[in-house]
Amino acid sequence: MNYEWLSSQSWTVRDNTAIDGLLDMGDTLTLEPNTLAGPPEFFEVFYTGKYPFWNGTFFYPVGVNAPKITLHFNWDDSQPPGNQAAGVYNDYKAVANALRSHANDPQIARLLGYVQVEGHFAIVNLFCFQKAQPNGNRWFAIDSQWSYASTRQDGTAHGDPP
C-alpha cells in the first residue's frame, strides 16, 4: 500500500454519530508521517478540537488489500448530517458500515491506532480515500471499537478535508 499521499493531510469530521465521545463535528486530524523519504512507518496525529487525547497518538499502516468504496453523492460540508440532501446521509452510512465490517480483518489495509478513553483503549481504524466523492473530494471513515457488548463509543465517524 502506498500511503505517501496521506502525508500531512488534514481531515475534518463531518459526522460524528455514535462516537461523539471521541470526536466532535468540525474537529480536525492531521497525519504527520515519520519520514518523507520513502513510505512512512507510522503517522503522528495532530488534532484540533474537543478531545486532546488524540494528540500524540500514532497510527500504523497495516494490512494488504485496500477496501474499495463507491459513494454516489457529495457530502455538503456546509450542512450538518441531518440536513444533507435526500439519500446522502444513508449513502455515507452504508459505506461506513461496510468499512466497519472489515475493520477486524487483518488483510484489510488501513491505519491502525489506539486512544485511551475513560481508562480503556479504543481500537481505531482509519480508512482514507482519494477522489472518493463524485466531485473528486477525498473522504475518510474512522472506526472505533471500545467495549465489547456495548455500543458506547463503538461506531464510525467520517469526514473530508477542511
Binding site: 515519520n34 483503549f121 467495549s147 465489547y148
Partner: protein, 166 residues
C-alpha cells in the same frame, strides 16, 4: 523470502507474573505468517493453553510487525527452564524483570520495532506487544518478552511476561 526466524519455533511462557489471566507458565504459542511467499504482512498467534477460557482470548488474533528499530537486550543470566520463577538462581529473575520492564517502557514508542496486536479481555481491549530476540540469554538461547497495556490508571493485566523456546 523465507519466513522470519521467530516463526520457526514455538515459544513457551516461563514467567507470567502480572499477566496470569492471559496464560499460564508452560503455555506455548507460535507465530504463523499470513503468507510464505514474500514478506508477511501479519502473523497469526496460535496459543496452546491448558485453560480453555484463556485459550479463547487468543483465538483468531493477529499481530503486525510495526516500528522502525529493534530494541537491544542485555540479559546477564540464563533462565533455568526446569525451575519456576521464584526458584531461579540469585539475580536471575530481577535481571529478566528489569529487561521486561525496560521493553514495556519503550513499547509505546512508535519507532520501537515489535509485534503488536490486541485481545479482548473482560469487554475491553488489551494492547499486546511481543519482542523476540535470538541468542539473548547468556547461554545463547532465544528469549521473548510479551507485555500488555489494558487499563489506565489501574494495573489489572498490565505487565510483562516472558519465556523462551521449549
Amino acid at each position: 523470502m523465507s519466513k522470519p526466524w521467530f516463526c520457526k519455533r514455538r515459544w513457551q511462557i516461563r514467567d507470567n507474573s502480572g499477566l496470569d489471566d492471559f496464560f499460564d507458565i508452560g503455555d506455548t504459542f507460535k507465530l504463523v505468517p499470513n503468507t510464505t511467499s514474500g514478506k508477511p504482512s501479519f502473523f497469526w498467534i496460535r496459543f496452546k493453553t491448558k485453560d480453555p477460557e484463556k485459550s479463547k482470548l487468543w483465538e483468531d488474533r493477529y499481530f503486525y510487525h510495526v516500528g522502525v528499530k529493534s530494541p537491544k537486550t542485555s540479559l546477564k543470566h540464563a533462565w533455568n527452564d526446569s525451575k519456576d520463577p521464584v526458584s531461579q538462581a540469585n539475580g536471575v529473575k530481577p535481571d529478566f524483570d528489569r529487561e521486561g520492564l525496560h521493553l514495556q517502557s519503550i513499547s509505546d514508542n512508535p519507532k520501537t520495532g515489535k509485534l503488536e496486536g490486541h485481545i479482548l479481555f473482560e469487554k475491553h481491549w488489551a494492547i499486546i506487544r511481543i519482542f523476540c530476540f535470538s541468542r539473548a540469554q547468556l547461554d545463547k538461547k532465544a528469549w521473548f518478552s510479551i507485555n500488555s497495556s489494558y487499563q489506565v490508571p489501574a494495573f489489572k493485566q498490565d505487565g510483562t511476561a516472558h519465556g523462551d523456546p521449549p
